[in-house]
């Protein structure tokens, strides 16, 4: 009976809506405030493409070898000046350009996992990104992505439960479960109002079974988006998203979350981390990496501020395909390495701590005598979020062949 009621509500909502009216209160009724279904948990994944230099992002300032290996690149030990690392725990420090994230760490909502990465030895961006998005290091033929598989099998679903920001569907979100890619909330529509009505009629009336089913879902999603598009968006709590792609995309995700249309998973990426040359400028705390990090930190912090209390149900996780050489190269840059650093923040995260066993930077401690070694498999971090945050216990489906992940205790019970 319950199902029937929902179907009735859903179809009457759509019947009433038509193109042009706003069903916002109805869609909220349908997707959020159902008494039997508390607000959904949401996972936001950010991929830093190009292999971020994790050692200059969360700096092991307590490790002498770090300063020996990087005479031109090392961020100075924390001394309170703007060019030095921001101390976290007496051993690690944040890059000074990540100042915006420090309050979240201090509030206990930002967890850092250092020396995390993929066990696969590849130093190819292509292969490593592929493996991290498919969730199956070493297996090239996996056809879908871990984020898509992380969606729980449910009968009652929103047409926008999984969203990638961008024109094309990323590898991580491809697969059998419904997912949409959109460049922005405003672009998800038929770009011709009269055309939209005619197309809707065609696809809802067609006897073509394949196109009919998806056609209906499409117009359902379009209408949900229209309800959002009609409400101009302004970030809450004085949040200020930085200029640039990531800031704008995080704002799109915040907008989708606040619309209560059933979003469970969002994905976006940020490029440009492959700093072989001139990673730093005139001094280590400035330059290309510093600029990118400033944007990154501000975008994440603005998202955190904007969502306010809603962060209770939201976790953001970041990843990059591999790290960079422990030793700087001759061009004020670094080359392809192994382990990296991951961030996870949200209301349910036990933050204020740097997780993971530190493998050390002495020569014999390095992976192949050159790179930070991996002590936390990236799937340990992601599995914990899938199981304990999203509440999907089917880890064997999400990370095939990796069914005994070691949870680090990032998610509060």
């Amino acid at each position: 009976m319950e199902t029937n009621r929902r179907i009735f509500l859903k179809s009457s909502a759509l019947a009433m809506v038509g193109i042009g009216s706003s069903p916002s209160w109805l869609s909220r009724t349908l997707y959020a405030n159902d008494a039997r279904s508390p607000r959904k948990k949401i996972l936001v994944a950010i991929f830093q493409r190009g292999a971020m230099d994790g050692l200059n992002v969360v700096i092991p300032h307590g490790e002498a070898a770090y300063y020996d290996l990087r005479p031109n690149l090392a961020i100075p030990r924390p001394d309170g000046t703007p060019d030095s690392a921001i101390d976290l725990d007496g051993f690690f420090g944040l890059h000074p350009s990540l100042q915006a994230l420090k309050p979240i760490y201090d509030a206990g909502h930002l967890a850092i996992v250092h020396a995390a990465g993929s066990p696969d030895p590849t130093r190819s961006h292509f292969d490593a990104q592929d493996y991290m998005e498919s969730g199956t290091p070493g297996a090239k033929s996996t056809s879908d992505g871990w984020l898509n598989r992380a969606l729980k099998q449910e009968t009652r679903r929103s047409g926008v439960r999984a969203v990638a920001i961008g024109d094309e569907m990323p590898r991580a979100l491809r697969g059998p479960n419904d997912a949409i890619a959109l460049a922005s909330v405003d672009s998800f529509q038929v770009r011709n109002a009269a055309g939209a009505a005619a197309f809707e009629k065609m696809y809802e009336g067609t006897h073509d079974k394949v196109l009919n089913g998806t056609g209906r879902e499409t117009f359902e999603a379009v209408k949900l988006m229209q309800s959002i598009q009609k409400r101009p968006y302004s970030p809450a709590n004085g949040a200020r998203y930085p200029e640039g792609k990531l800031g704008q995309e995080m704002m799109q995700i915040a907008r989708l979350i606040k619309a209560d249309i059933g979003l469970e998973i969002a994905f976006t990426d940020v490029r440009g981390w492959d700093h072989h040359v001139n990673e730093v400028g005139a001094k280590p705390a400035v330059g290309q990496l510093a600029n990118l990090l400033a944007q990154f930190g501000q975008a994440l912090a603005a998202f955190h501020t904007d969502l306010g209390d809603r962060m209770a149900n939201v976790t953001v996780v970041t990843m990059s395909e591999f790290g960079r050489t422990a030793k700087e190269n001759g061009a004020r840059g670094t080359d392809h390495g192994h382990a990296n650093v991951m961030f996870a923040f949200g209301g349910g995260i036990k933050g204020g701590k740097v997780y993971g066993e530190w493998p050390g930077l002495e020569r014999e401690q390095l992976y192949e005598e050159r790179d930070l070694d991996v002590t936390t498999d990236f799937r340990d971090v992601l599995s914990e979020l899938v199981v304990r945050h999203l509440g999907n216990p089917r880890i064997v489906d999400v990370f095939p062949g990796y069914d005994q992940p070691k949870f680090r205790g990032l998610v509060s019970a």
Binding site: S141, S143, A181, V210, T218
Partner: protein
């Protein structure tokens, strides 16, 4: 109609339709098409979509003769523009995938040898290489030109061999770095350890030949990988390098056993050739390739009896691709209600068929290349070695459908960069205009949606027809 089944079928002796998957209903593949439907169907499947005038031309020539001609592209006069067109990858210099893909779009729209272009797309996708992977940005143009295209209608063993030797594939699936196990293992951690790399061996059997259920084991993968050690690339990352090289020093010279066949110790490059011979001759390969072709050209779930006849042709002719295709195009299953409009166009097919159906003038292809990516089929940028699926489900998602509708509106409104469409050549009557584009009557639901008063502006009408469910099918 079915007289030419006999004409084409080299293995038509098998009584068809007896072999059925239990429970599956293939009765629709027994129902014939009308003559007009047959012509439209053949044009939809053997080309990137009919152009104005194509139906009449095929009718005039005769369908059987037209199919035979498409199977022999060398007998078809090519448009002179196609030969003089400067390739975006004229030399070995790096080229961006989006730039290189323009050439593919141009050929798909304008080549007279349409089946050849369809097959180049099919085989490239079967032996997929992602152009964004490192040196493949430089190696892919030669791969398609020298390994895929010349063998698209030839012997499968030649095609397989050309891909196995190609630096593009050796790089993409890492075989160039694969060395005999005894070459590594020295306790010298300063050098990144390189050893046996199984990637190519695995995909060679799973994706290129036998198929995942083709009867090989993990042990076979290792043995095949050992056979291919030493198949490498001369300086892959330099403009002056990038050619195939056999490095005897890194080749595993010990004995191997592949699918039960012993390859004696002391071999060299021939070990790999022997593997290719074994795989190309294997019955699983005949079946796997036949099935994949039938999935592309007939239907997502083609009748097993048809696949069996195609596989029989494959084996009887030593893997002659042209003969296998002739068996398929000569079958009653191909010209059946089960196959008619059974496939959803891939993004490439949608984009190109729209330009062809409307007689649009493509002055530059960048806009169309971009559209294929937005629709989900980024050309030359498929990361996985599986290539793109030709199954309907792959292409029907909310994002994709919306993008298809928007593409249709943009194209009809002349808002796709480099493409010019003259709306005035279409009838003012919606039903007649739909027939001009679909080359058949539109469905009742589509007609109902476009026959409105007042009539929509012509460009909007064309956009609606191109974005209709009818036009998504082929």
């Amino acid at each position: 109609m079915w007289k030419f089944a006999a004409l084409f079928c080299m293995a038509a002796s098998l009584p068809a339709g007896n072999i059925k998957t239990p429970g599956a209903d293939y009765s629709q593949f027994e129902k014939k098409l009308s003559k007009d439907q047959s012509i439209l169907h053949a044009l939809n499947r053997l080309t990137f979509g009919p152009r104005p005038g194509d139906i009449a031309a095929v009718k005039k020539m005769g369908l059987e003769k037209w199919i035979d001609l498409q199977l022999h592209p060398e007998r078809i006069a090519q448009r002179p523009q196609l030969d003089v067109r400067p390739s975006p990858a004229g030399n070995s210099a790096q080229v961006q995938p989006a730039q290189y893909a323009q050439d593919k779009i141009y050929r798909a729209v304008y080549s007279n040898r349409q089946l050849e272009e369809v097959l180049v797309d099919f085989w490239y996708n079967h032996f997929n290489v992602d152009m964004t992977k490192g040196a493949d940005r430089r190696l892919v143009p030669a791969y398609e030109r020298d390994a895929i295209r010349p063998n698209a209608l030839g012997k499968f063993r030649d095609l397989l061999g050309a891909t196995a030797h190609s630096p593009a594939m050796l790089f993409y699936l890492d075989n160039w770095q694969s060395v005999a196990p005894e070459q590594t293992g020295r306790a010298n951690a300063k050098r990144p350890t390189r050893g046996l790399n199984e990637n190519y061996a695995r995909e060679l059997m799973e994706l290129h030949t036998l198929g995942v259920d083709g009867g090989y084991t993990q042990h076979d993968i290792i043995e095949v990988a050992r056979c291919f050690t030493g198949w490498t690339i001369d300086r892959p990352n330099q403009d002056s390098g990038g050619t195939f090289r056999f490095d005897a020093r890194t080749h595993d010279k010990a004995e191997k056993i592949v699918l039960g066949v012993t390859i004696p110790a002391g071999g060299g490059m021939d070990d790999g050739e022997t593997v290719l011979d074994i795989l190309a001759r294997h019955p699983s390969t005949a079946k796997f390739i036949s099935k994949k072709l039938a999935e592309r050209f007939v239907a997502d779930d083609p009748p097993p009896a048809l696949i069996a006849r195609m596989a029989q042709t494959f084996q009887a002719t030593g893997g002659d691709i042209r003969a296998v295709l002739a068996t398929m195009f000569g079958s009653r299953e191909f010209f059946s209600q089960g196959a008619y409009r059974a496939k959803v166009k891939t993004p490439l097919e949608l984009v190109v068929s729209a330009a062809r159906a409307t007689g649009a003038r493509v002055e530059s292809e960048a806009g169309l290349v971009n559209q294929t990516g937005v629709l989900g089929e980024a050309l030359y940028r498929k990361i996985e070695p599986t290539g793109y699926s030709s199954a309907n489900a792959e292409w029907v998602s909310s994002t994709a459908l919306l993008a298809r509708m928007n593409f249709a509106i943009q194209l009809a409104g002349n808002h796709v960069q480099g493409v010019l469409m003259d709306s005035s050549r279409f009838s003012n009557d919606p039903a007649a205009a739909a027939k001009q584009i679909l080359f058949a009557d539109a469905s009742a639901q589509t007609l109902h949606s476009i026959q409105k008063k007042p009539a929509p502006p012509k460009a909007d009408l064309i956009g609606l027809i191109l974005g209709s469910p009818d036009f998504q099918r082929k």
